[in-house]
Every structure is written in structure tokens, then in C-alpha cells.
């Protein structure tokens, strides 16, 4: 039970790690957060002694630490062993003073790197591009520093909530270029890329530009990914036994014969997530 059944239906070869040189795109909605998948992939990766680079744009390290502990992994230890590199993209992404990250005391693990943009406005396309290039450099540095030899590092780069960048006003094309660069980097190191974005369907468009950006963003990310995990709430409304529905689908470039697209229901528990076929929740059986 639990996460094992997700691994079974994803059926990634060797150790349930995301396959080499592949990207996974997770889309979620407001009613059903896709966070539990992120934590699962972190835990899987750390448990099999592989390197994770986690870019936390929506949460601080403590969040991952506490949940990781519940899922049976000590992320502080993992950081010390060099299995986890946390890149903080939340606390000082916009602040010019960035006094907070520097004052980090010993109680909370210092992030490996911090993403900051020094420019006051990112609406300017030129600065938007430069900032993202800086982000890429930070990520590249983190990976290069850890893996001196390129061989089979199987590093996993995770973006928790890439939508933040889009919302913050970065140019959508620049973000996509940034993602593409990350993907190339990952391919070089035989690793994998996991991206979480928000994709709500039950919304009415507000402004044409935003809508277009979101559309381009989503479609091109889908195009670049081999596996699509889409998480959403139940269409019929809330249920006590089912938190939501997860669809595992094939990306456009995916030719893997072993991969079987499927849809499961899931229920998030305190320290685990149960997955079951539709209609097989505990309340029914």
C-alpha cells in the first residue's frame, strides 16, 4: 500500500527512480495539491543514495525536512552527506536587502544556494533573461560542484512550483528557455527533471496576455516532458475517502513500451499516500 502502489503503476525501471534523461511534469489544481508527489520523488531519490537538487520556490527547507521525516528520510543528514542540495527560491527572490538568508542560524540548515534577483523590476525582458541565466548558473554550479565526473550521476533536479516564476512576471519564453537549458544540463549528467506547475481548468480568463502565457507555458512544458502526472480534485466534489485523482500519461516524446498510462484515486494521509483504482477506496470496499 501507500506510495509503493504509485511506484508500481509508474513502473520505472530500476529502483523506481525517474529514468535517465527524462522529464516528469506534475500539474495540480487548487483543490488538489501535487506536493505529495514531490516529496515522494525526493524520498525515493535520497533512499537510493542519489543526488537531488531541490529548487524550493514555494516552501522553505523546513517544510521538506518535516515531511521527509514523516516519510522516513532525514534530509538534514542527506544534506550533510551531499545527497540533497536545497536551493532557496522563496525567501529572497525579490528582496534587495536579502538580510534574511544571510542571517541563517545553525538551527535551520543553510540552503546550498539562494536565488536572488537584484533588479527591481523583472518586467523588462532584458533583465528577465539575465536573472534566469543567473538562476541557471546557480543550479549548474550546484550540480557541477557535486559531480566531478559526468558518468552516471543520476541527479534529479526538482522545481517545486515553477508557476511562481510565471506569476512573478518573468517572460514565458525566457522561462521555457531556462527549463530547456536545465534539461540539457540534466541530460549531460544522466539525470532527470521534475517540474510542478499549477494548471487549473475551472477558471475563467482574466486578461488575454496572462491566459496566452499560461497556455504557452503549459503546452510547451508538456511537449518537453516524457511523463505527465496530473493531479486534480474529484469532479463530483469532495469525498471523505478520496483526496483526488491522479492521471499518469505519456508525453509526446515518450516511446517507452513498458509505460502504461493509468488513472488512480488517492488519499493523502499523515505520513503516507494511498493509491487505488477508481472505485476501490476503503469506504466502498
Amino acid at each position: 500500500m501507500g506510495y509503493a502502489s504509485l511506484d508500481a503503476s509508474l513502473s520505472f525501471p530500476d529502483d523506481n527512480l525517474p529514468p535517465n534523461k527524462r522529464s516528469i511534469l506534475i500539474t495540480d489544481t487548487l483543490s488538489a495539491s501535487g506536493n505529495f508527489l514531490i516529496h515522494h520523488f525526493i524520498v525515493n531519490q535520497v533512499k537510493s543514495d542519489k543526488h537531488v537538487v531541490l529548487v524550493g520556490l514555494s516552501q522553505i527547507f523546513n517544510h521538506y525536512l518535516t515531511i521527509g521525516r514523516k516519510l522516513g528520510v532525514n534530509l538534514t543528514l542527506a544534506t550533510q552527506k551531499g545527497l540533497l542540495s536545497f536551493i532557496d527560491g522563496l525567501t529572497s527572490l525579490y528582496s534587495q536587502t536579502d538580510g534574511f538568508s544571510k542571517s541563517t542560524s545553525t538551527t535551520i540548515t543553510i540552503p546550498t544556494a539562494v536565488l536572488t534577483c537584484t533588479a527591481s523590476s523583472i518586467s523588462n525582458s532584458q533583465t528577465s533573461k539575465e536573472i534566469l541565466q543567473n538562476f541557471y548558473k546557480v543550479i549548474k554550479q550546484t550540480i557541477v560542484a557535486r559531480h566531478s565526473s559526468i558518468d552516471d550521476s543520476r541527479v534529479c533536479l526538482i522545481f517545486d512550483d515553477l508557476s511562481i516564476l510565471l506569476y512573478a512576471g518573468f517572460n514565458v519564453r525566457d522561462i521555457l528557455e531556462f527549463v530547456k537549458a536545465c534539461r540539457m544540463l540534466i541530460e549531460k549528467y544522466n539525470g532527470s527533471l521534475i517540474i510542478l506547475i499549477h494548471a487549473d481548468e475551472d477558471v475563467s480568463p482574466s486578461s488575454f496576455d496572462d491566459e496566452l502565457d499560461q497556455e504557452i507555458f503549459l503546452k510547451l512544458l508538456i511537449y518537453q516532458s516524457e511523463y505527465l502526472l496530473s493531479v486534480r480534485g474529484l469532479g463530483s466534489g469532495f469525498s471523505r475517502d478520496v483526496s483526488g485523482e491522479i492521471t499518469m500519461a505519456r508525453g509526446p516524446k515518450n516511446q517507452d513500451k513498458w509505460f502504461r498510462p493509468s488513472t488512480l484515486h488517492y488519499k493523502v494521509l499523515d505520513n503516507n499516500v494511498q493509491f487505488f483504482a477508481k472505485g476501490f477506496s476503503q469506504g466502498v470496499l
Binding site: L30, H39, K70, I164, S204, S206, L269
Partner: protein
């Protein structure tokens, strides 16, 4: 394992006054200040005991009415009572001080009994006997008893001389008919930000102000405060964010603000409650527009207040006599956990699964589970003098016509017919 960490933390650092640790995950909580009643389902309960320190709660405002504003008032006045630092930012008032002057104040328990809430009196009495037994246990309480409140009034009055010696309450009962005394208001730790006076980039300036307050008052959780300063908590109330009075250079400024605010609060002893006039942005009431949805994604918790007065469809419904509106929970705070703590702690199965309604009485605002009122017995279904709407329905479904689904003309009236 997590419990071990929690103990260490409590030993090391004293938690700020008027806050408490969540029994579920050791998260530091502050109260929303809403009236708590054992039998009633309350706001706090839905959020899992309170608003976690370091999080941002978004309240989507109601149309035409000001219930969301009232919720914000509760949050702020609770902060004043608990001795927290309170920061209010609004663009709707000419002076934010006016907003503070309109805050309710602690209810006097003896006034409460025999007041207009007659249906509650019995419950209240019952509760008091229970409360009396547990009076000795100070901090651990899942609801606010009326008894400690009396004590509290005394505390407040004696507060001015030496404010640091008495333990500040976590959650108190407020009376909407009273207003906050002037001397309390003068002594409270208030920071008022008038958005109208800010420059062209309201969000950016406001963020700087918040950052200053946090730094000046040693609210940063990463820095050890000077030994003579006791750790306090900060309550940030932002009224009607993104209303037309807010100025920004681009539509992305608000997202940058929310993201930075979140990052700032995560490492400080503060929590924010933000109300937003979401209806201004959406054309239909059922579907939120993508702009609002993005803001919702940027906040830790999202609730919505939907007033019956705001739409003609619900304005005349039968239930509008019992309730004043619906209370929706869209997102629950999941800091440091996979699921929100309310799932474990609350009597509710989960926040979003329940239909919640609210009503505003003369003295208090309550949120409770929403039930449709019984419509008479089986035999007299939908007959009798009720509201206009039910009569209309009755006309449509006259059994003689046989237009009802599944009913056969000429047969007896099926009570379950619709």
C-alpha cells in the same frame, strides 16, 4: 520523531504570548479571534486550531456586504487582546485608524446570558459547568470558556501597569456591540499603513514597511532577540488587497508581493490575513478568474465568504432567514505536513467537505454547519405559508398535473417526488 523535536523547541525558546503550539504538528498558532462554541463549528476549527505562524490566509470577500471585513476585525482585535504587534493596511478608509476604532471588544460574560441568543443559553450553562471543572488546566483548551473571560477582563484592566507579568489569552470572546476602549487602542502595538498615502508601487512599499516592523521588533525567528526583549508575535491584516485603490506598475506586482511576504513570514513570528474583493475580477460567481486563482495559489490558506445578500438567487431562499451566507474553504494550510492539521484535530472530516454557513447576530459572528431547514413533515411537504419561493415551487409541482419526475398521474402523491 517529530514530537521529540517539539519538546526541545519548547524548552529552548519561550513561545510568544497569546500563541500556542498545535497539538498535531507542533506548529505555532495564533487565534483568529472568532467566538468559539463547543457545539458550533468555527473558523478556527476548520483551520486546525488557528492560523499557523508564518502563513498567509486569504479571505475572498463577499458581495455587497462586509462580513469578510468583520472576520478581519476579529483577527486584529484578538491580536490586540493577546498583546501581539498588529499591522493593518487598508486603502478603503481615509485613515486606517478608523478601522481600528471600529473593532469589537471583549464581551462581558454576565451580559451574555439572557441576551438575545436565547437558543444558546442552555448550551452556555452546560458548557460552564464543564468549563468549571477544567478551569485549573490553563492553556490546553479546544474552546474558549466563558469563565476565563471574566478573569481576562480583570487582566486587561490591570494590564497597563505591568503588561508582562500576566499570561495573555489565546482566544477570547468578543461582543460586536462594544467597541474597543480608547486607552487600549492607545497602548496597543499598532502599525497602521494607509495604502492611499503610499507611492505608485503600493505593494513594494508595504512589503518594506512589514520588513521594517519585523526587524525593529525582533520578530525574525532566525535571530536571537536581545535578552531584554521578549518575543512577540505579529499579526498582519491587509484589507481589500488588489482593490482599485491599490496602485501597481504591473499586474505581476501583487504576486511578487505575496511571494515575498510568504518568504518573509516563514522566518518570522507573524501571520497575515488578507481580504480580497475577488468578485471585482470575475464575471460569473461560480468560476473564479485566473488572476484570482493565481493569488489563491500563492497563499497558504484560502477561504471565501459568500453572502446571501450578494446574489438574487439566494437572497430570497428559505435558508437566508437562518443563515446570512455560506462559508467556503478552498485551501487549508499544509505547512510542514502532507495534510492540513484540521483533518486530524477537527470534529469535521475535513474542511472543504462540509457545507458551512455563517450568521451574524447582534453580538457575535458564528460559523456553523449548514443545513437546509426541514420543510414540514412527509405529508405536508411544501405546503403551508412559507416564503414566496416555496409557494412557487409548490405551484409547479402540483401532483394533479403529474409533471413530477417519476409520478404517475392519478396516483397518490409520492412524498419523494420532486
Amino acid at each position: 520523531m517529530s514530537s521529540f523535536k517539539k519538546r526541545v523547541q519548547t524548552k529552548q525558546t519561550k513561545i510568544p504570548q497569546g500563541t500556542r503550539l498545535s497539538p498535531y504538528n507542533g506548529q505555532l498558532l495564533i487565534s483568529t479571534g472568532l467566538y468559539l462554541d463547543f457545539y458550533k463549528i468555527i473558523f478556527k476549527h476548520i483551520l486546525g486550531g488557528g492560523i499557523p505562524i508564518g502563513s498567509v490566509l486569504l479571505i475572498k470577500e463577499d458581495r455587497h456586504t462586509e462580513y469578510a471585513r468583520l472576520l478581519l476585525k476579529y483577527f486584529l482585535v484578538q491580536g490586540i487582546v493577546s498583546g501581539h504587534h498588529v499591522l493593518l493596511s487598508t486603502a478603503e478608509e481615509r485613515e486606517p485608524k478608523n478601522f481600528i476604532m471600529g473593532l469589537p471588544w471583549l464581551s462581558n460574560e454576565s451580559d451574555d446570558i439572557g441576551a438575545e441568543d436565547d437558543d444558546n443559553t442552555i448550551e452556555l450553562e452546560e458548557k460552564m459547568t464543564i468549563a468549571w471543572r477544567y478551569k485549573g488546566l490553563k492553556k490546553f483548551e479546544s474552546s474558549v470558556k466563558s469563565k476565563p473571560n471574566l478573569l481576562l477582563n480583570k487582566q486587561i484592566s490591570s494590564n497597563e501597569t505591568n503588561p508582562h507579568q500576566i499570561e495573555k489569552p489565546f482566544c477570547s470572546t468578543f461582543d460586536l456591540t462594544k467597541s474597543i476602549p480608547q486607552h487600549i487602542m492607545d497602548n496597543a502595538l499598532l502599525t497602521l499603513v494607509n495604502v492611499n498615502e503610499l507611492n505608485e508601487n503600493s505593494y513594494h512599499t508595504l512589503l518594506d514597511r512589514i520588513r521594517n516592523v519585523i526587524e525593529e521588533n525582533h520578530l525574525n525567528s532566525l535571530l536571537v532577540p536581545p535578552s531584554n526583549v521578549e518575543r512577540n508575535a505579529l499579526r498582519i491584516g491587509i484589507h481589500s488587497i488588489a482593490s482599485p485603490s491599490w496602485q501597481s506598475r504591473s499586474s505581476h506586482d501583487i504576486f511578487a508581493f505575496l511571494h515575498a511576504l510568504r518568504g518573509l513570514l516563514r522566518f518570522s513570528f507573524g501571520a497575515a490575513v488578507i481580504t480580497i474583493p475577488a468578485y471585482l475580477y470575475s464575471s460569473s460567481s461560480s468560476e473564479p478568474c485566473s488572476f484570482i486563482r493565481r493569488i489563491e495559489h500563492m497563499c497558504d490558506a484560502v477561504v471565501e465568504v459568500e453572502s446571501f445578500a450578494g446574489s438574487p438567487a439566494t437572497n430570497n431562499a428559505i435558508y437566508s432567514a437562518t443563515y446570512h451566507g455560506l462559508f467556503h474553504v478552498h485551501k487549508l494550510p499544509t505547512l510542514n505536513s502532507l495534510i492540513s492539521s484540521s483533518t486530524k484535530l477537527s470534529v469535521l472530516s475535513s474542511g472543504s467537505g462540509n457545507n458551512l454557513g455563517f450568521k451574524l447576530r447582534r453580538k457575535k459572528f458564528t460559523i456553523e454547519t449548514f443545513h437546509l431547514p426541514p420543510e414540514g413533515g412527509v405529508n405536508e411537504r411544501r405546503v403551508g405559508p412559507e416564503t414566496n419561493k416555496s409557494v412557487k415551487k409548490d405551484d409547479k409541482n402540483k401532483p394533479g398535473i403529474g409533471s413530477g419526475c417519476g409520478s404517475i398521474p392519478g396516483r397518490n402523491v409520492d412524498p419523494y417526488d420532486f
